[in-house]
């Protein structure tokens, strides 16, 4: 391992006369702030990861059929007319269980997206730093849309 003890010439000192220098040094990270106990207990990451996980599950199980019916089959004219009639849909949507399911179908995939997209911004789009703003923007969008969905569902 690296042992540059003060009483011995290190390689760096030996090479001082040469062109040796640190090429593209890695940015030196700042010292991590000491975290308060409260902050340790109330970490948001497990919550968002948990929502991401549930969202991934819902997106895998329920979403393909949903988009197939709503986005493709309906547009192609396959379901019978009454299936998407205002009377049927609005009466179905009055049901509180239906509202919960619909909320899940809207909100959970958004949290799934928020978590994955947040890391994609850093790892695939190459945005370094700005971890807080990116996280707030992504999760904030999911939270806002969830709130909007709650408000809409309560109005139906």
């Amino acid at each position: 391992m690296i042992a540059a003890t003060p009483d011995r010439l290190s390689l760096g000192e030996i090479l001082e006369d040469s062109d040796a220098r640190e090429v593209r040094p890695r940015p030196r990270p700042g010292q991590r702030r000491k975290e308060s106990r409260l902050r340790q207990l109330l970490r948001p990451e497990p919550v968002f990861w948990g929502l991401f996980s549930m969202g991934g599950f819902v997106s895998a199980m329920a979403l393909p059929a949903s988009v197939a019916i709503i986005g493709i089959a309906f547009a192609a004219g396959w379901p019978p007319d009454r299936a998407f009639s205002y009377e049927r849909v609005s009466s179905l949507a009055q049901n509180p269980i239906a509202k919960l399911l619909l909320l899940g179908l809207v909100s959970l995939p958004l949290f799934h997206w928020a978590h994955r997209f947040r890391y994609a911004v850093h790892h695939q789009l190459g945005v370094h730093g700005m971890r807080r703003p990116v996280a707030v923007a992504c999760y904030g969008t999911a939270i806002a849309c969830t709130a909007l969905a709650v408000w809409i569902l309560l109005r139906i």
Binding site: M1, I2, L15, S18, D19, A20, R21, V23, R26, P29, R32, E35, Q40, L41, R43, E45, P46, V47, W49, G50, S53, R116, Y119, H122, H123, G126, H128, R131
Partner: protein
């Protein structure tokens, strides 16, 4: 070139001569039982004694000889020349680590991170006269796979998250922390959690899975990390819920 030799393009970095790395090409004899490490040793012994690289056991248990071979992180002692149809075989230092010289990389970051997760049994040891700290085969089975890590750092070179963000703890480190968390003799979960659950701990991982693909000992660090996430999340849930149970 005859079928009994093969070309090796070897990464060199000699800051006292040139500030940028470069490649040297060597032709080494090839036999069916030679590995890349044998080729490097041949270069060192007969062609260019100034080549710097690490190796030790030459049988895949020490973890010293990790390098990039044709762009993949491999143990050079376990990579056979016969698996390459034709050269040149490109040998470079392990990716994402600072290069000190030729094929030697700076392991400080890995060593510090490993230390920070306290990879040892934490907790009260039974007094000597009470006998051994007993563990059943089933209890061993729970963590055994993750104990196989030889600290070769191939997983770090395969991990794009570590490549983009050197602050990330890294696959092997988290897998080893998980190994101790799973050990029935250990009580250090909460202590390790302080490091694992930081922003650059387990949560930075996006389950690319390449770490598991390159691991020469089938440790499956990706599984260890995701299971840590599950365990942490359920742990927190139980702490918050009134009927959660312990801790």
């Amino acid at each position: 070139m005859g079928a009994d030799t093969i070309a090796l393009k070897v990464g060199r970095y000699r800051p006292e001569h040139a500030p940028e790395p470069y490649f040297d090409e060597f032709h080494v004899p090839r036999t069916d039982d030679m590995v890349v490490l044998d080729a490097l040793n041949h270069i060192k012994d007969h062609l260019d004694g100034s080549l710097a690289y690490r190796w030790s056991c030459r049988m895949g248990v020490c973890g010293s000889c990790g390098m990039m071979v044709n762009g993949e992180p491999r143990l050079t002692c376990s990579t056979f020349l016969r698996d390459f149809d034709s050269g040149p075989i490109v040998v470079e230092p392990l990716r994402y680590f600072p290069v000190i010289r030729d094929l030697v990389v700076d392991m400080t970051d890995f060593m510090e991170k490993l230390k920070s997760v306290k990879p040892w049994i934490i907790g009260e040891e039974p007094p000597i006269d009470e006998g051994e700290h007993l563990q059943t085969p089933d209890q061993l089975e729970v963590y055994k796979q993750f104990s196989m890590c030889i600290n070769c750092m191939l997983c770090f070179s395969a991990c794009p998250v570590y490549g983009q963000d050197p602050e990330f703890l890294g696959p092997a480190v988290i897998a080893l922390a998980h190994r101790y968390n799973l050990d029935s003799r250990d009580r250090g979960r909460a202590e390790r959690a302080r490091i694992l659950e930081l922003d650059n701990g387990i949560w930075d991982c996006t389950f690319v899975g390449e770490c598991t693909v390159v691991c020469p000992k089938d440790v499956d660090p990706a599984a260890a990390i995701q299971r840590s996430k599950v365990s942490t999340a359920t742990h927190m849930l139980r702490a918050v819920l009134p009927f959660g149970g312990r801790e």
